[in-house]
Symmetry: C2
Subunit: 342 residues, 2 copies
């Protein structure tokens, strides 16, 4: 079994730097689009055989060192009682955003085995299909990020309603976040029990918070999940997108690995986290467009910085873009494997 990914998560020595790509199962791959032509995005998430198929596509095509379950961070919000729809060009929409105590009181904490069986079935099926080729990563959205969708009713540019609740109704905000946290912890535990070998917590929007607000309104909930997962023995990756000023705080969460976007030099990330955690990242997703010699230079710089970290998993600093030619992703994986050998 290729366990370089899990070893790097744990800060153990590796043969070569492991690499995977956020959103590696996605729209840039023609084989993914072929599946999507037949089913909607939500159907794909909810059909274990198809989720399994698209999860394995990049393992076959790219030769990455980890598979990540095909799903969406918003999936567990549906059984909480939220009506979720994906509109073309508008992204996810919740028709009934959370506004008051009654809305929060109405939210259920789902039982993943009852309410989200298709996710756990996909995990089990994937473990069987992958058969030890590469480890399987499960994931969930971090509570702050999930809360923004519930409060804003979808994506947002300014997060006005979320911050309004934080600043003017902190008890309501805390009650909402507590419920999301309970839900997410149970959900990730269930993924680990079903066979996920690592877990990533995506705080996609926490980068809209200054450090004091991150410490007060996002980090405590993420930390509770990370600590609650310790008993599973499964390594956890915490990715705070656009979180350059939040990295030192994020390190206190107890995550085994911190995901780093491309805005922060990986050298600085090592320094800011005092070499205490493994790091994942952090090539600009657009840098895949560089000619090969330019790409090599960037890969070399990131690999060199990664050697100073407790462990390093190569990745993009954000998800691969739908417009990216797939052969660019394959070249990246080749280069990391070639240049990142011990």
């Amino acid at each position: 079994m290729n366990d370089n990914f899990l070893k790097a998560c744990r800060g153990e020595a590796v043969d070569r730097t492991p690499v995977w790509i956020m959103r590696q199962a996605g729209r840039y791959l023609p084989q993914y689009m072929a599946v999507r032509e037949k089913v909607s995005f939500l159907e794909l998430c909810k059909t274990p055989e198809l989720a399994c198929e698209v999860t394995i596509q990049p393992v076959d095509y790219l030769d990455v060192d980890a598979a990540i379950l095909f799903s969406d961070i918003l999936i567990p919000l549906e059984p909480m009682g939220m009506e979720l729809a994906f509109h073309e060009n508008r992204g996810p929409v919740f028709a009934n955003p959370v506004k008051n105590e009654a809305d929060v009181a109405r939210l259920r904490v789902p039982d993943p085995t009852v309410d989200l069986p298709f996710v756990l079935d996909a995990v089990r099926l994937l473990r069987k299909e992958l058969d030890g080729r590469v480890p399987l990563i499960g994931f969930a959205g971090a509570p702050f990020t999930l809360a923004t969708y519930l409060i804003e009713g979808g994506s947002s540019k300014t997060f006005f309603n979320t911050k309004k609740m934080m600043y003017t109704a902190p008890e309501l905000y805390a009650a909402l976040l507590d419920k999301i946290t309970d839900c997410t912890l149970a959900y990730l535990k269930a993924q680990a029990e079903a066979g996920a070998q690592a877990l990533q917590l995506f705080d996609s929007w926490a980068g809209v918070l200054g450090p004091d607000d991150f410490a007060a309104f996002a980090l405590p909930y993420a930390t509770r999940i990370i600590q609650g997962l310790k008993e599973t023995g499964v390594p956890l990756i915490y990715f705070v997108n656009n979180g350059a000023t939040l990295i030192s705080l994020a390190e206190t969460s107890g995550a085994d690995v911190l995901g780093i976007d491309w805005r922060l030099d990986l050298d600085d990330a090592v320094r800011l986290t005092h070499g205490r955690v493994a790091l994942q990242g952090n090539l600009d997703p657009c840098a895949l467009l560089l000619p090969e010699d330019g790409l090599r230079k960037r890969v070399a710089k990131i690999l060199a910085a990664g050697k100073k970290a407790k462990g390093h998993i190569f990745n993009l600093g954000h998800g691969i873009l739908p417009q990216m030619p797939p052969e660019k992703a394959r070249l990246l994986v080749e280069l990391v494997h070639e240049m990142g050998s011990a």
Copy 2:
């Protein structure tokens, strides 16, 4: 004359910390909306009497220590030869984005006195109307930010086309940026000559670049403008939005003041710039929603950090949001004046 703003820009002692608010002339003000009911956004930008009227509205209502010319960073791109339209809910759109050498060759470098007389007329009218009450700030978009609009044809989430040009056609990109830089330098010089007493360069999107890319593809052009303006004697504020990891680089531009968004603690901004520049910022625009005691605490923290800077101009970390009750902005100005007195 209240010259605390100009003194702070120059790092001189002030009676009290000056304060103004990005987008202080804007949609959150009913008196602004009353003017906008009569004319389109572009007409407002191009009618000196009306631009003057809305520029002075927040000086009257908020008691801020500086006025900033009402205009838009995209205005000088029209006489460069780009067709600009503002669509409701879609933001600015350029129907003919820049794609190749012919597109760049076609772009003109406008003569501001001939092609943008309404801006210079507004500046002159404003100096007369303000009559020394507070200094007048002129502004422009920084070259990288303007280039993103020209290349993407409007706003963008991922800046794929811009980065694609940077990475795969660096000479084309440089030719485009050179032209925008020439245009912007002439435009800001003309504003200074017409009477602008300070100038702000908005790099609204440079925060999508990692440090190496910022140093290669954005900073050199901003620096050329900043250095070229030294002969005017007018202080320059360089605002790199979402630029926490770019601050040390931005400091090398020679700007008198750096604008700081709310993601970076102002203490850290002082440290990262070695106390060599004045700083402007950096309250989270949504923090205006806090109850007064909470707002006081944040203002106090920012004022205390600002005292360690070479100079400090209080501001939000980004533009005031259209949904903000105007009395919240007025309270902020009152608190800064009360708590920031020497």
